[in-house]
């Protein structure tokens, strides 16, 4: 993507985000949101993060690659275990990066 296109995209995303934020305070100040939107919002973050992580780990050049000797999926597994045990973001990043360096050296 060119810098100009990226700038335009970011401005659009910023505007849309601002409209969300201002929506109920200023635009439709006396309305409430439908229940299904509440239900939907709870799932957006887990679905987005999972799709992106799976893509980063297993998709290369538009193809699914499941290789046993790839360091990133194994490092991600270590990170997932640390995240699950500690619930700590910094510990997860630290363990995942350390594991990545070890697996890159091993494979």
């Amino acid at each position: 993507m060119s810098t100009a296109a990226l700038l335009a995209l970011l401005v659009v995303i910023g505007l849309v985000t601002f409209v969300y934020r201002y929506a109920m305070i200023g635009l439709f100040a006396n309305r409430s949101l439908p229940g299904w939107l509440h239900a939907l919002c709870r799932h957006i973050a887990p679905a987005s993060f999972a799709a992106l992580t799976a893509g980063e780990l297993f998709i290369h050049g538009g193809e699914v690659v499941l290789a046993l000797a790839a360091p990133k999926p194994w490092a991600a597994l270590v990170a997932a275990l640390v995240a699950w045990r500690t619930g700590n973001v910094l510990a997860t990043i630290g363990a995942g990066m350390a594991a990545l360096y070890v697996f890159k050296w091993l494979f």
């Binding site: 993507m1 109920m24 973050a45 887990p46 992106l52 997860t92 990043i93």
Partner: protein, 235 residues
């Protein structure tokens, strides 16, 4: 000290502890943006224009894998929808304010500022004998977070430019998603959404411009809503 300033500073003070969690995210975003090939000025500008941490990390990750404008726009559009919920929740407390105040507070309405400000609104009743100045408290929360976000982005950009690509430091972005997922997947419905989205991302990997990611997120949403419905029915 003027009562407005007292309220503003109280907001800054109560928002301060949360900055410990914000700084690493801001730095990570800056580092990721540099490694994804974003010009530093544009990455810094995005922190002011978009001003939403999770969406900015997602944008950087999608740029890194070569996603097109449409999937990036759709994904951030979905991810930021939750701000409408905050907007609705806080509306009754700021509805009486002049428009310039509402515009300013809307711009500053992020996860972390909302969390602290709504507590003040819900826990501290409006004073009877003097004007309600709690919007100054909200402004203090929002301003503190805004400043931290801009400064930590700048720090990440400076740091990211000096780290060699061979260190794979951009891998910290998906690692962050893994850490957040572990927290979000404590609920059954979150598990369903994440699992279906991950599998669908692989199933639709061949779609152009990484549109498969958007399809995967939507299918994950459907699975999550379906799973929580089923739970409610079972109860």
């Amino acid at each position: 000290m003027h009562p407005k300033l007292v309220e503003f500073l109280a907001g800054c003070r109560d928002e301060a502890p949360l900055q410990l969690g914000v700084v690493p995210f801001g730095m990570l975003y800056g580092i990721g943006a540099i490694q994804a090939g974003m010009p530093a000025w544009l990455a810094q500008l995005a922190s002011a224009v978009v001003f939403a941490g999770a969406a900015q990390l997602v944008i950087v990750q999608m740029l890194a894998v070569g996603a097109g404008a449409l999937p990036i726009g759709l994904t951030s559009g979905l991810l930021n929808l939750r701000h409408m919920l905050y907007s609705m929740s806080i509306a009754e407390h700021v509805r009486h304010l002049p428009r310039r105040w509402r515009l300013l507070l809307a711009y500053l309405l992020t996860d972390e500022a909302y969390a602290v400000a709504i507590l003040r609104y819900q826990v501290t009743p409006p004073p009877d004998d003097r004007p309600d100045l709690r919007h100054w408290y909200f402004l203090g929360c929002g301003f503190t977070l805004w400043l931290t976000w801009q400064l930590s982005t700048a720090a990440g950009l400076l740091f990211g430019a000096s780290v060699p690509a061979g260190w794979d430091i951009d891998f910290a972005v998906p690692l962050t998603f893994i850490a957040l997922l572990a927290m979000l997947m404590k609920e059954r419905a979150g598990q369903a959404a994440a699992l279906v989205a991950a599998l669908a991302a692989l199933a639709f990997a061949a779609l152009p411009y990484k549109l498969g990611l958007v399809v995967a997120i939507v299918l994950g949403l459907v699975a999550g809503v379906w799973a929580s419905r089923r739970r409610e029915v079972a109860r």
